[in-house]
């Protein structure tokens, strides 16, 4: 029996363009949500690595053991793997993956970042607000109560995309303050970021509200930055009806990177 959930494995495509693209999925999710974007970018001739964050695509209980530094280590791994084989590395992430891509760009020479549906802080919607009040006792509480059912933030426009999505059905409770800690690091580090940035956010995102994108845009240090609103989509931009537009915007961003002098 394999450890990694079938269909949720990481992927690596090799291209000749000289650009390596690191794709980072979201919290409780898996590389599966980045795979079609990955195929599109590979089709454009780029080397693409869709990594699997530790604790993900295995068992929900695994996430309770993980700390945010483990996720940082994994994206550093991804950067180095691509850097061996590329002249430039572009980092792209969805949701928590976007936060990781942004933080990576403040520690290593990432050529550009595409951050999709990325949160700026916890919590992200009214039903989850109670989590913030529990944040202080969260750690001991997380030892007693391992999971809470995933709040039904179903903002999918495409019900099939929702059904197909591979991820945990529960929130591993102890992992929530880790997301909180990572986002705190993000807010600290954003002013230090210099790489070109493209922010993509769904107007109707009910998991991470549009205000988060505006906050990131305002706080980031990069002078070259753009925020594009996506219509007809929920939180998981990469699998929703407007995904082709998302893929095109991401590919164009990489093209601009290619044209830039090294």
């Amino acid at each position: 029996m394999s450890q990694v959930l079938s269909g949720a494995e990481p992927f690596l495509y090799r291209g000749e363009s000289g650009v390596g693209v690191l794709l980072i999925h979201g919290w409780t999710s898996s590389p599966q949500e980045m795979r079609d974007l990955g195929k599109h970018l590979a089709g454009q001739g780029h080397t693409v690595l869709g990594l699997r964050l530790p604790g993900h695509a295995t068992r929900p209980a695994d996430l309770n053991r993980l700390r945010w530094r483990d996720w940082l280590a994994a994206v550093e791994d991804g950067y180095h793997l691509l850097e061996n084989a590329s002249e430039k590395v572009v980092a792209m992430g969805l949701s928590l993956g976007g936060a990781l891509a942004l933080i990576l760009a403040t520690s290593l020479p990432v050529a550009g970042v595409v951050a999709m549906a990325t949160p700026y802080e916890l919590p992200t919607q009214p039903r989850l607000r109670w989590l913030r009040h529990l944040l202080f006792p969260m750690r001991p509480l997380g030892n007693l109560l391992r999971f809470v059912p995933k709040p039904t933030v179903n903002d999918y426009k495409d019900p099939q995309a929702h059904r197909d999505h591979l991820g945990y059905e529960v929130f591993p409770l102890r992992s929530v303050p880790e997301v909180g800690g990572l986002l705190e690091l993000l807010r600290q580090q954003l002013p230090r970021m210099r790489a070109p940035l493209l922010l993509l956010h769904a107007v109707e995102d009910r998991g991470v509200s549009p205000g988060h994108a505006r906050s990131i845009y305002a706080r980031v240090g990069s002078t070259e930055k753009e925020l594009v609103w996506i219509e007809d989509s929920g939180h998981v931009l990469t699998v929703e009806p407007s995904r082709r537009r998302v893929y095109d915007l991401a590919a164009e961003f990489v093209d601009r990177e290619l044209e830039r002098a090294p």
Partner: protein, 254 residues
């Protein structure tokens, strides 16, 4: 902020249509497989050297690791290579060899190379106190182990990237992983090459014999190195090991 130590990162050398997955050992880092990786890349293979969870960061991270995490890392590497290469050979040293064997139980690598892999932890006190290790690690998270060096190449020894202490909780994971490995050997059928060093002070020869004998593979051989100690991919016998590896890979993928 960076979490990986210097030189602690994994490596990827794109090459031809045959992939080599390299898996390092307990408390080590991808660095210990890097010279072998470069050698194989120079011989035209596509090479991926993974970093196992909690390795090459800080030793206390190891206390949060479970052997299933390490096996998942090995699976990740295998899946990534399978996207690029029509055949994948899995190569592991020490605990990396145990992960190689477990990977071969579930998937179908073209072949496996197992180097210096023990069948149990040398200190058999660990066996007796295994149930207590999680508790002990709460009061004593790490322990420094005494022990001599079996390195022949002292310059290579200085370049070693290894935790200086053992994370107590993780010793339990290594113990459990080796048990799982021993039980799985009969189900492994991939062509196999084992490489062990006569000068390996930590791994008794019966480990090599046990694995060789129990392996389900019909195509299985063992090579004993005269030079060097446990760290086969870095110590004095490494060139011989690299050549044997390349020869083995060419033969089974021909």
């Amino acid at each position: 902020m960076r979490v990986l130590v210097d030189r602690g990162e994994p490596f990827f050398y794109p090459g031809g249509d045959i992939g080599c997955l390299l898996i390092h050992g307990f408390s080590g880092a991808p660095e210990e497989m890097r010279w072998m990786g470069k050698y194989l890349a120079e011989h035209g293979f596509t090479v991926l050297g993974v970093r196992l969870f909690a390795h090459a960061t800080q030793v206390t991270d190891m206390n949060r690791a479970r052997w299933e995490d390490w096996l998942a890392n090995a699976e990740d590497g295998y899946h990534m290579l399978r996207g690029l290469a029509s055949q994948v050979v899995v190569i592991g040293m020490s605990m990396g060899g145990a992960l190689t064997l477990l990977l071969a139980r579930e998937f179908e690598p073209a072949g496996i190379l197992v180097m210096a892999t023990p069948i149990r932890i040398p200190d058999n006190r660990v066996e007796r106190i295994r149930p207590l290790l999680p508790l002990i690690s709460k009061v004593m998270p790490t322990i420094r182990l005494p022990g001599g060096s079996d390195w022949a190449d002292k310059e290579a020894e200085k370049l070693q990237l290894h935790y200086h202490e053992i994370a107590v909780r993780s010793a339990a994971e290594l113990h459990d992983l080796l048990g799982e490995m021993r039980r799985s050997l009969g189900r492994v059928v991939a062509p196999a090459l084992l490489i062990y060093a006569k000068g390996d002070l930590g791994t008794p020869p019966n480990a090599a014999h046990f694995i060789l004998e129990q392996l389900g593979s019909s195509d299985k051989h063992i090579l004993w190195l005269e030079n060097g100690g446990h760290n086969i991919a870095r110590d004095a016998g490494r060139e011989q090991a690299f050549e044997a590896a390349a020869g083995f890979i060419h033969r089974i993928t021909a």
